[in-house]
Symmetry: C2
Subunit: 504 residues, 2 copies
Amino acid sequence: MPEQRVRYAPLREKITTPAEAARHIAHGCNLFISGFTAGYPKLIPAELVKRAEAGEKFKINLFAGASTGDAVDGVLARAGLVNWRRPYMSDRSMREAINRGEILFKDDHLSGLSAAVRAGEWGPVHMAVVEAAAVTEEGHLIPTLSVGNTPSYLAKAEKMILEICDADPPELEGIHDIYMPEDPPFRMPIPIYRAGDRIGKPYIALDPDKVVAVVYSQQADTCAFFSEPEEVALLIAEQLLDFVRHEVRRGRLPKGLPWQSGVGDVANAVLAGFMDDGFFSELSIYSEVLQDTVLDLIDLGKVRAASGAALTLSERARDRFFRELNRYKEKIVLRPVEISNAPEVIARLGVLAVNTALEVDIYGQVNSTHVMGSQMMNGIGGSGDFERNGALSFMVTPSVAKGGAISSIVPMVSHVDHSEHSVDVIITEQGLVDTRPLTPRQVAEAMINNCAHPDYREMLLDYYQRARREAGGHEPHLLGEALSFHQRYLATGDMRPGRGRAQA
Amino acid sequence: MPEQRVRYAPLREKITTPAEAARHIAHGCNLFISGFTAGYPKLIPAELVKRAEAGEKFKINLFAGASTGDAVDGVLARAGLVNWRRPYMSDRSMREAINRGEILFKDDHLSGLSAAVRAGEWGPVHMAVVEAAAVTEEGHLIPTLSVGNTPSYLAKAEKMILEICDADPPELEGIHDIYMPEDPPFRMPIPIYRAGDRIGKPYIALDPDKVVAVVYSQQADTCAFFSEPEEVALLIAEQLLDFVRHEVRRGRLPKGLPWQSGVGDVANAVLAGFMDDGFFSELSIYSEVLQDTVLDLIDLGKVRAASGAALTLSERARDRFFRELNRYKEKIVLRPVEISNAPEVIARLGVLAVNTALEVDIYGQVNSTHVMGSQMMNGIGGSGDFERNGALSFMVTPSVAKGGAISSIVPMVSHVDHSEHSVDVIITEQGLVDTRPLTPRQVAEAMINNCAHPDYREMLLDYYQRARREAGGHEPHLLGEALSFHQRYLATGDMRPGRGRAQA
């Protein structure tokens, strides 16, 4: 019953239907929503689509925490309702519309985004639509499985709609830690000294007078699908853990640094690698998105604390999580993304950062976002926050994609998100390169020998050797050929000469 | 007299000749020196060169704070004595040897470097050679005009040589603020809340037993040469100050944020722009290298505090500075570079960062280091620390170089140091683009119209329009042409078709 979830009486009077609530959203609305892989509103987007299907012509500017599910990004993109979308997304329909230039999109480092919104850089927050597990007796909001940018969106919102979600138990109360840093010029340090430190309140304070509607939802997030890691991911994870063990044993890295790992197969395999490993026992996780494996590690008694901006679980893991919520709540903290990703805290704690690259070049420049230089994949998200500030930062990628037609190691990446200065160790299933003690030329030789797939080593070596001879310099490049692997792929469907379609 | 400068008696017994002192440095030595544009040792490098000229065959690995003068980088590079050099340098002989691949070089974000050395990532610190203005009664070291990485180099040094420099007055004591942060995993915030806060000691503590020699120097740093800013620099500075004024008036930027400005003509022009401007009155400077203009602004009563890792002055300014040292010391703080450039502090204070680009592409990716993709210029230095973490970050560059033969705005930069996500505003003498509210395609149109030189606008627009049509995507690129401006320059000496040498 919605009444039990909304413990602040004046807001119970605002309970209404999604259709009524959605009437507050008109053409040109800057719509800021909760949601950071999980915890996005579902009913209001569906209502907007119904209105579009009934013939109403309107567009909104959609600003979320990061990616959401098909119930937001998918349906709104397909209905043609989105003018602007920021930041990070991973929905196929949304991505396609962005790449066609039909939806305006800009990607931002997630750590700095809330402050930019508070400074007014994103324009007025006409409406915030946020999912909640409950409203407290004082009218404060208990989020569901993500915090993301919701505190700042609500702080700036002119109007708000709350979706009280019955699928998320009210016992989530207490898992969140809501702290909003002050803004320059007068502000203090973020007082986190250990990954699990709680520094804020368990709710998001809001002005109940700005709530124009409360709706009652039974719709759970579309669950993430987690498969068992494939062999390539396991090989990468194994090398990564070996490397860290080795650095700790050499005394160059203290034991017990907290881990961040991006979303995906390899990141999951790294965390899975901790399970039967005695070396990594009292784990701290200071990450952005927490996934299934974190629960497994907690069950094994291996986790000291796990901090993130969201908890994205498969259906099976979610059931388990909800059943034993009180036990998991002792270990898990969900924070605003400006805190989970704060450069200050990441550097202070000395986070070990693991993120996935689309491609890496022989000198260690990393492309995380643009396929073949032009097509946006998902966005940079928080990868820059962690890679740039971690005590040790890893970029991982399988050495080839599309059955070998694409090499992830190329002469020059077709887009750069992370420069050579900001990434320490590159790992593929073939091997790894610790770039820290190497010149760019040494990196190139190691990258070709250790990380590139054997199918591409000769081509890469030929490029590098000729670049050294003909162009010279600190990072020798032949500018006429630097992007030739990509050009060949675009022309023939394969980066390997003679393996793709005949060129026109 | 050296005795008066060395107030700790046991160290006076170690006073010797440079030739004697330099004998402690042998082939394969990891030599860590003071110096960050200023404050580098001069006598010991000269001795090493003498030994090489006398026929001794040896090489050292040379690690400084950042750039030094010809008395270090120039003479050692020309003598062929350098195996490795890290980080940032700006000496012509050193640069040429690096680009020929004869000297191994790796460039690092300056903020993270001291911690990497402390962690042992750079290998053992066999010898530290540091310039000092004095040694205190307790045996502590008073640096000269830079702090740089000296505290960490001395903390890790197996042996040390001190160059007591008579050209720097002992009254420098008190201008330095030496604070060494703890290392992960157990560390606390850096307790700086205002640009001028002093959080450390006025000296660098050292273990006097590790001092193997003290030498007495009368050799001042080679002075920087500062010319009056040219018209292009003034035009850029004027737009930048107008923009900040406008943002403050719109309420999107608080007044009084501290400034960082890189080394060079434009940065100097920005600071000079404050002189007769009533809007900018109580200035805070939280920068890396402080230059002449800072003294001028202090003289005008406009500076609340100026913080940096070094003070690099022209000869005239240095005389003035030394004459009125006590007055300037009230305003100026010299810190370790890991503090002057700390991402945590830069973000907390909300620094306005101004740095110079070599080239910028139509989507806002920035190249700070590699000329035509391959040839190292100086290095990234601290520009990434400030651009990535400042409240607002500017990249400035004249729209053309070499009399118009090179466009600083290109379809795709030939190297990326700062990604589009990390830089806010691009300014040339032609105009500016605030990239924050724009999609990459909107950035491209604005960059071509506002920032590019008229000679190149049509070429750039033609590229962009065809890329949009033929490649599409979020950042449309034609990979076969993306670097064609650079290729034309390399082939003909001019990026403009038909203007350079005939192509072979």
